[in-house]
Amino acid sequence: MKLSVDRITKQYKNKIAVDRISFDLTEGVTGLLGANGAGKTTLMRMMSGILTPTSGEISADGIPVQAENYRALLGYLPQDFGYYPEFTAKEFLEYFAALKGIERKRAKEKTKELLELVGLSDVAGKKIKTYSGGMKQRVGIAQALLNDPKILILDEPTAGLDPKERVRFRSLIEELGKDSIVLLSTHIVSDIEHIADRIIMMKDGALVWQGRQSDVEGDLEEFYLKRYE
């Protein structure tokens, strides 16, 4: 599968949040690096079909981002998300399974499987409002994986996770990248340096570097910091 981002721009009145960015992604993990305010979230929102670009096109194997078929391929974890206060983790996942068009029996199986994967099986029946930040983030990650997405877009997914959870999460992402296109944004280089095949760097809405991690000479963090000097 090929995910194409073609000269994508987002302009708000007198501010350009994303400026004519183009790249293609295939199966594997791609790290999207940039400081806060670089335009990562805006770009990811456009790639998830929730924000309409001012200009440019996004498609997956020719399926445009606005199409239901595109969203059927997509798993998305936003930087911040809420939940209906009455929901337990199990109900939350079953609700999203319904919105993703997953058949009820399969939804129940998948919910169980994912709750185990993110280590929340024992608290699945408890209301999400009683969870810690890290546990809520794990529910969000599980939600993104419900439909076995071929495109997985994760905006700052490690925020709120403790060091142990971060390590577990990295190996999960690495595994998912074998069959899916995974785009993961972060401003912490160590989150992606061992798992991302490709790196995209953004600054002030523009793309400042993209390539394979193996093309980076020396330390990734130093290389990244040089782009921002």
Partner: protein, 238 residues
């Protein structure tokens, strides 16, 4: 015919092979086609319990009041129904209020479909409540079912239209419960006219008997237009 024992022994000797590349096969399956009715049905369990209970309360008031011969049963239903309109409008921004809208926008059935489904379900529920309450009240107090339904519908629809317009405005975005203020205003005006202004009530009766049906048709058209506008603007994110 093979006997059962032989069949079992064969089954034991030749196990079915383990599925190969099962995950990859599942990922490559085309998504199942799902129509609007099925999508709408999936939303029914997620309509909150108080909403169902409130609808049941209206039906109970209509039936109970009619059985007990309470003359102001119709008045009570007329002042309660605008609150179902307020609840319906409140449901349209429940996602935004709970911070779920960004997640719901990125699912196969986007937030727009979710809002459409909720409006449709609650519209049908209100229709059912009206279809039960109107004939029961009309039969009990010797009135016309159509006129009873019209008298109940007019404040309901006006509340719905005004609330939907406010909900999309900056005021509605900052005051999540503005639709309840509209329903409260409707209650106050109806109660004032019913209790303190017999001339207005009599004039309204006459208006309903002549212009009631065309008024309801116009209000229904406006309601559908406003609901459509609300659904259309749902995904104007950021």
């Amino acid at each position: 015919m093979m006997d059962r024992e032989l069949k079992n022994r064969l089954a034991d000797s030749f196990h079915a092979p383990e599925p190969e590349k099962k995950e990859s096969f599942i990922k490559n399956l085309r998504p199942r086609e799902i129509g609007i009715p099925e999508m709408v049905l999936t939303q029914i369990p997620y309509i909150r319990l108080p909403i169902w209970l409130f609808s049941l309360l209206i039906v109970a008031v209509a039936i109970g009041g009619s059985i007990l011969g309470m003359e102001d049963t119709e008045f009570q239903i007329t002042i309660l129904m605008p609150f179902t309109a307020a609840i319906t409008v409140l449901e349209t921004h429940r996602s935004k209020r709970s911070g779920m809208s960004e997640l719901e926008m990125a699912t196969r059935f986007s937030l727009r479909s979710v809002i459409f489904a909720r409006l449709l379900i609650l519209g049908i529920v209100s229709g059912i409540v009206l279809a039960i309450a109107s004939p029961v009240i009309a039969a009990s107090f010797g009135r016309s079912t159509v006129h009873t339904a019209i008298r109940i519908l007019i404040p309901y629809l006006i509340t719905m239209i005004i609330s939907l317009i406010i909900e999309r405005s900056p005021l509605g975005r900052t005051h999540g419960y503005a639709s309840f203020a509209v329903a409260g205003l409707s209650l106050s005006v109806t109660a004032w006219a019913y209790n303190c202004a017999p001339l207005i009530t009599a004039g309204y009766e006459e208006f309903v008997s002549v212009w009631g049906l065309p008024t309801v048709i116009i209000l229904l058209a406006l309601t559908i237009t406003e609901q459509w506008r609300t659904v259309k603007t749902v995904e104007a994110f950021a």
